[in-house]
């Protein structure tokens, strides 16, 4: 007989090492396995995070895939479980199942210009790929980040964006939907930034993450600029209860977003994106 199959539905306890507040409703947690050991993942993958007695949510990993000593998650507190997660402090324990899902194809982008298009908290699932790209900076042409937030107060990882912008080997463009305070930067949707270019469309790979409507328009803007559909990737979001293809909730056409995605090649999903309520 074969060895017993490990139960994919059992969470592993992880201790919260550090919690940092990013925005009024968004926070980043650093986790380490309670029983010791490392955590390996690929940029773009997600975990199911369990709060004792409350429930589970799929949250993408926002840390550096090159650092196995710590697991980093950035979460927006919008539902029962994410709010309960927000209430936990350093030293407390959460359950982790994963990593699940398909990664950003960072290595397949070697030799290309690499363009990141992020909207709102969608910057978090892209950050591991940005880390990975910068760790292999010499393998790419230009590296460009286009980021759109609702207001200047909603800009995620602000200091990190500023630091990246200070580098001579990366360009970072930020826009807000609505200017507040002393904001003197770009105002408008992130697709306006894409339209201005700054990359070689014939040799570009683009990774897009944000609200679904923003991703649709961003892909259209990239295409208009000359980036081919197979060179555009986006990360989809759907309801998930299991994360590993058993519960059926995340189905989208023939795909299980949890295991066939969340990162999809645009030419394989462009038709599905145009069907309402699929």
């Amino acid at each position: 007989m074969t060895a017993p199959i490990p139960d994919p539905m059992l969470p592993r306890p992880f201790r919260i090492e550090k919690v940092r507040r990013d925005l009024s409703d968004t926070f980043t947690m650093e986790l380490v396995p309670a029983e010791g050991g490392e955590f390996t993942f690929a940029a773009g993958q997600f975990n199911m995070l369990y709060v004792f007695g409350v429930g589970e949510v799929p949250i993408s990993i926002s840390g550096d895939p090159g650092d196995r000593s710590v697991l980093v998650h950035t979460t927006r507190a919008v539902g029962a479980v994410t709010k309960a997660l927000d209430a936990l402090k350093a030293g407390e324990v959460v359950g982790v199942r994963g990593p699940y899902g398909t990664p950003w194809p960072v290595e397949a982008a070697f030799g290309h210009d690499l363009v990141f298009v992020a909207g709102g908290v969608g910057l978090a699932p892209l950050r591991p790929a940005i880390y990975q790209a910068m760790a292999n900076r010499e393998r790419f042409g230009r590296v460009v980040v286009f980021y759109g937030a609702r207001t200047p107060e909603d800009i995620l990882f602000k200091r990190e964006l500023e630091r990246w912008r200070g580098r001579f080997d990366m360009s970072v463009h930020v826009t807000v939907d609505r200017a507040t305070g002393k904001w003197s930067g770009n105002v408008g949707v992130v697709t306006n930034l894409v339209a201005k270019g700054g990359f070689d469309p014939s040799a570009t790979m683009a990774f897009v993450c944000g609200p679904e409507v923003m991703m649709r328009y961003s892909a259209a803007a990239l295409e208009k600029r000359g980036v081919a559909r197979p060179s555009i990737y986006m990360s989809m979001e759907r309801n998930m209860k299991c994360g590993c293809g058993l519960c059926g909730h995340c189905q989208w056409g023939p795909h299980f977003v949890c295991k066939d995605g969340p990162v999809f090649r645009y030419d394989r999903i462009a038709d599905l994106l145009s069907i309402r309520e699929l």
């Binding site: 004792f52 429930g55 927006r76 324990v93 979001e237 209860k241 058993l246 909730h249 189905q251 309520e277």
Partner: protein, 376 residues
């Protein structure tokens, strides 16, 4: 649980006492024997201790939105077609505990899982149900993270298939290629020959475990005439079904994500989810977390869910499928079209339950035919 067909085996003839010996032999081997009996005016698959528990002399009348038990005068024990609930209820129970955990000084700790329950023997599995079990085995098993519970329960199970002696009112297994003849996926196959002054169960083995069991029953070999009659009987059933599913259904639905028929069916569909609850292959589940009042003991349960609920597709900001048309389209398109891409076959076995148990009698074959007809 058996694999594919073995070489041709001997067919034995059991009488009612022989069937009793078969049930007793299964129980002696430690199986919890589950078979048909009557409860709440319906056939249900539950625990049976002997042949006396089986629904003697009862048939069923099934039509769109209609199910009635009917007395029949031949005393048949398997004279109904299919029960409202299939074997999914036992292989993938409606509520399953995923884990229990206890709060501890360091956070929480997982409690050890409960030991697996006794192996089950299923008595009276129809051809369409054998096919449904094989489909769910692929759904839960053929992936990077298989469901260990389903795999264990199925591997430990003993399947006694019983071939249909008549077509039910909503059946269409012949056009799905999943019946009515049982051609694999069983340990023992029975064909009931009732009426005309005799009552026999022709039994043949489909696995070494089945061969072993039948050898113990001390039954005579079946007469060639009875074997021929069993073959004739199932051929008649195959030709007696009132519905068919078109062969090109998967493509038709795949190409018609937008179609006026979705609005039309949405006017009738109550989005109650009955079809998904009675479907022997529907596998969607949700989870429920709870704690005791002190917040020290937590459990997580998995429960059957239905794509017909609005909550099913909820993500922050709202549900993806708010309209009835979208939810009906998801169910039928998944079942008959995208299932092929996901699991290499249709998700439908033609058992007809979704038609029988739809409160407004929506007929899956009729909905497909309407879309099919509009292509021409």
């Amino acid at each position: 649980m058996p694999g594919v067909d073995g070489p041709k085996t001997t067919t034995f003839a059991l009488d009612k006492a022989g069937l009793d010996r078969l049930i007793a032999a299964l129980r002696r081997r430690g199986y919890r024997v589950i078979g048909p009996s009557v409860a709440d005016d319906a056939v249900v698959y539950g625990d049976v201790a002997s042949a006396a528990d089986l629904p003697a002399g009862l048939g069923d009348e099934q039509a769109g939105g209609r199910y009635r038990l009917r007395r029949r005068d031949d005393g048949a024990l398997f004279g109904y077609t299919v029960a409202p609930q299939g074997w999914k209820r036992h292989l993938y129970p409606p509520r399953q505990k995923l884990f229990a955990a206890r709060r501890s000084a360091a956070g929480f700790e997982m409690l050890p899982p409960e030991p697996p329950a006794a192996p089950m023997a299923f008595l009276g599995v129809r051809a369409c149900e054998v096919a449904a079990i094989a489909i769910q085995a692929r759904v839960f098993g053929d992936k990077a993270y298989p469901d260990p519970g389903y795999g264990q329960r199925l591997a430990a199970a003993f399947v006694v298939a019983v071939e249909c002696a008549q077509a039910g009112g909503t059946c269409f297994c012949a056009s799905m290629g999943s019946g009515p003849a049982v051609s694999g996926g069983f340990d023992v196959k029975l064909v009931e020959l009732a009426g005309s002054g005799r009552h026999l169960f022709l039994a043949s083995a489909g696995s070494p475990a089945g061969t072993d069991l039948l050898a113990e029953l001390d039954a005579p070999e079946a007469a060639p005439g009875d074997v021929a009659e069993a073959e004739r009987q199932v051929a008649v059933v195959a030709g007696a079904m009132g519905r068919t599913m078109a062969a090109e259904t998967a493509r038709t639905l795949g190409e018609h994500a937008e179609h006026p028929r979705w609005d039309e069916v949405a006017k009738r569909c109550l989005t109650c989810g009955n079809c998904t609850m009675v479907c022997p292959t529907c596998f969607c589940t949700t989870v429920e977390d709870s704690t005791d009042l002190k917040g020290e003991h937590a459990e997580r349960w998995r429960k059957w869910d239905s794509c017909f609920t609005v909550d099913f597709s909820y993500i922050h900001g709202g549900s993806v499928r708010t309209e009835g048309r979208s939810r009906y389209r998801q169910w039928i398109t998944h079942k008959l079209s995208s299932w092929h891409a996901q699991f290499g076959s249709s998700g439908c076995v033609g058992c007809g339950r979704c038609i029988t148990w739809c409160p407004v009698g929506i007929d899956i074959t009729e909905e497909v035919a309407a879309i099919q007809a509009s292509r021409k």
